[in-house]
């Protein structure tokens, strides 16, 4: 277990809740029973983690990690089951160990050592030569990662289909969903801000959200060396979905409705996500999610309490000049809504922030 993983444990990133664990164990039981050729599935432990991204990963040692935001974005429990199957497949195929061994053999490579020494002795064109060698190594490394993903997709599908024989299309739909899972599904509009932020003491000022900052820039999207598609660790999910559908002849396109149990789990996860982001000190993201929910439930005491707590933490961070650690900066990669929110929090003055805190504490 790496130091980084141990640190996440000690920082309280992981969730220990019977509702989630019994749900996950239900999926594991089905996978284990349907795949007697893979007895190692029995040893699998699923950890639920707070996080900022809808993601999942396998770290070896039969451990897989799911993030709470993933649960809130899936359409049904079958998609979740496929993702669990995919991650189990990584562990069964020992991808984590193979990856480490590949890096280790690179370090021992005499050829690479010789090449590096030769480059060091060069007076001219050293950077060009290094990039050429480094790029080859990187391509090789990323190619391995992509092959691992395809292997996990395939074995994961086999495990999943054995346990959920009528749901095979959900494996394809899960991958299709991942293609657009990062896209924002809700936003804060001007009327929302007026509703959420106006107080008697401080009327809402539209200039607080008059976010023109990024409009004065145009950003160069020309692919540079480090961002070409061939260097992505995960090939496009759309391509992976197509691969699974073709390889395993998945013809059905029947969507599945989420069960009431899963819907309840997802409903709770929306609130747990807000609390989780707060727990891992992502106060900006937690506050944004809180405001999105407050639009629908303006009187919800939990949400109002989370709004006040996040605002207080942000205010404390600002006083210590560490706000940037807890609140994202404006970026062209963010949605307009999120950028406007970030601009708003960074724009309001201390006394205005105090009024907002008091508004939500009341």
């Amino acid at each position: 277990m790496t130091a980084a993983f141990s640190e996440k444990i000690s920082e309280g990133h992981f969730v220990d809740d019977k509702l989630y664990s019994s749900f996950f164990n239900g999926v594991l039981d089905k996978l284990r029973e349907a795949n007697p050729n893979f007895p190692q599935i029995e040893r699998t432990k699923i950890l639920l983690s707070h996080g900022t991204a809808p993601n999942a990963y396998a770290i070896g040692d039969d451990i897989i990690v799911l993030y709470v935001p993933l649960l809130t974005n899936l359409e049904n429990e079958s998609q979740l089951a496929y993702i669990i199957s995919h991650e189990i497949a990584h562990n069964l195929l020992e991808h984590s160990t193979k990856g480490m061994m590949a890096y280790s053999s690179l370090q021992q490579s005499q050829e690479l050592k010789q090449k590096t020494k030769q480059i060091k002795r060069m007076k001219y064109n050293r950077a060009s030569e290094s990039i050429s060698v480094y790029k080859d190594l990187l391509y090789g490394s990323k190619r391995n990662s992509r092959e691992f993903e395809i292997e996990a997709d395939s074995l994961g599908f086999v495990l999943f289909k054995n346990a959920f024989p009528t749901q095979e299309y959900q494996a394809v739909s899960a991958l299709q969903l991942l293609e657009s899972i990062d896209k924002e599904k809700d936003s804060l509009t001007v009327p929302d801000y007026t509703l959420l932020f106006a107080t008697n003491e401080v009327p809402f000022k539209t200039e607080w959200i008059n976010n023109e900052e990024l409009n004065s820039y145009k950003y160069d999207t020309t692919p540079k060396f480090w961002t070409v598609d061939s260097l992505k660790t995960h090939p496009d999910c759309a391509i992976r979905a197509e691969f699974i559908a073709t390889k395993f002849n998945v013809t059905s396109k029947e969507t599945a409705k989420a069960s009431s149990d899963f819907q309840y789990l997802q409903h709770l996860s929306q609130y747990n996500d807000i609390l989780g982001l707060y727990a891992i000190k992502e106060y900006g993201k937690s506050l944004y999610s809180t405001f999105l929910k407050l639009k629908e439930e303006p009187d919800n005491p939990f949400l109002r309490s989370m709004a006040a707590s996040n605002l207080e933490r942000l205010q404390e961070a600002q006083k210590k000049y560490i706000l940037d650690r807890h609140l994202d900066r404006l970026s062209p990669r963010n949605s307009d809504s999120y950028n406007t929110f970030l601009y708003f929090i960074r724009e309001i003055r201390r006394k205005e922030m105090n009024f907002l805190i008091n508004l939500y504490k009341a």
């Binding site: 370090q107 001219y124 950077a127 290094s130 480094y134 990024l214 950003y219 000049y321 960074r346 724009e347």
Partner: protein
Amino acid sequence: MKKIFTLLLLFLSTLSIAQMQKLREFSRGKFIDSRIIFDENSEDVFGYFLLYEFDRKSREIYEMEYVILDNNLNKITSAVFTQGVYKNFMIKTGARLTFVTKVGNEIVFGLHDNFEELYTQLHITSDHFNERYRKINLNDFSVSSEIVFENNKPLENIYKPGDNLTLKDLKPRQTIYPAGTDKFLIFSPSEYSVPAVAMGIETQVSKIKKNIKGFSLLNSNFEILWTSKINKDKKKAEEYKFEASDDKVLILQKTVSDKKTKAFLAYEIYDMETGKYVGEISQTDPQYRMDPFKMDLKNDNIIVYNYLHELKDKNYYFEKTLGYVRIIYNKSTGKEVSRDILLWENLSPHLTFKKKFGDIPKYGKIIFQDFIALENGNTIGIAEGYRPAAKTEILDLYIMEFDPEMKVKYFKKMPKMKNVLNAKKVPGKILLSYKAFDYYYFQKLDNDGNYVILYANNEKEGGRLKRKKDPSWVLGIITYVDGEWEYDKLNLTTHDGMIVPIRAKNGSILLQEFSEKNGVEMRLEKINY
């Protein structure tokens, strides 16, 4: 106000594999220089420009890389370009940035080589050695070939590996200066021919400068818009240099130099649109001699702040200032609008002065670091104390607000731990010129007339060596918001590293934190107000 910063972007390697790490190090550029890019009005930060030496292709030909960030530190663009850099076997030379400016939808940057030998020929046409320029289009992100100016004309250069640069080729280049929001100023080449055997560099430089007979304004395409003449009368010829400009006026500073002294004479105002001479700010006064301190261009006015000396003080003795004067001129006419004097005695009862030259008993003296002209006619003054003793000391910070007649309205002393310099009796003006004081800069917080003032303080107690070895630096943050003053501080010395403050967009500050545990962290923090 310091507009130069140093920003190191270190790529943190996530792969702790020795060979991969070495390859990665060889693949990345060596940081050379950086600049803040201001918006066209110079009132806010547009972004940052970083320059790297990427690869050496031959002895004098390099691939250099620039990276442009926006004011939220997002990358706008980056590119590699081929650049010649003069090399000399005796002196270590390298390319440096001269300026980076935003002109409409382009970034124009100037490079020079730091071959700063007192090479007489340099001063015929240029401020630095091997000055050249490039433009980056922010629409299609293309970068131009190298542009140099010779005989007032832009010429293009393209380099390839193996090219050689010779001193002869590099000599007659000219300097251009960003002027207004989208123009450039260029002085005509001097009509003086330096003799082959030149005795005394300084006298040659003076002759060179006095024989510059004109200056031109260039548009963003480097085309001449107009040319104005200077030094028409050979007997009255002096040295000119660029002082300030905006979209209405361009101001040159005229100095006289002879064998003994170099002294400020006057400012000349020219209309930016036409190049027409508007008038001269001669800085004369019936009671005082004046030495320039600062100039601001604000709305319709030119605001000049000068040191005051006695009339009989022909040499502007550094430690014999009587105070300051603020003179406001109208841009369109060059006529004086107002003149307000601030003598040291006017700061009573806040400070007690023994003599008219500003000596404070058992303390030392104070010198103003900056003045801020407010929209309501008031002025903020930022001063620091110092003691020109056997070991010169930098003392406390003072914040003052003056009414439109330069009468003290607000006064506050910010005690600081004294900084002891290993230098004997250094005058305040010299300390200022060497940036020895702790004042950093002031900046607008927003467009509502609110400001922040930043300074540093080593709060560590104890002897000079101990304080130097184990400092406890803090950043003093003073805000002026809605007419009210607030005082805050931020520790710059952390338990395992340090924080370097860098100017950021209005209302914010960029903090570069170096830590043994976490490496380098860049944070864009909101000023707390």
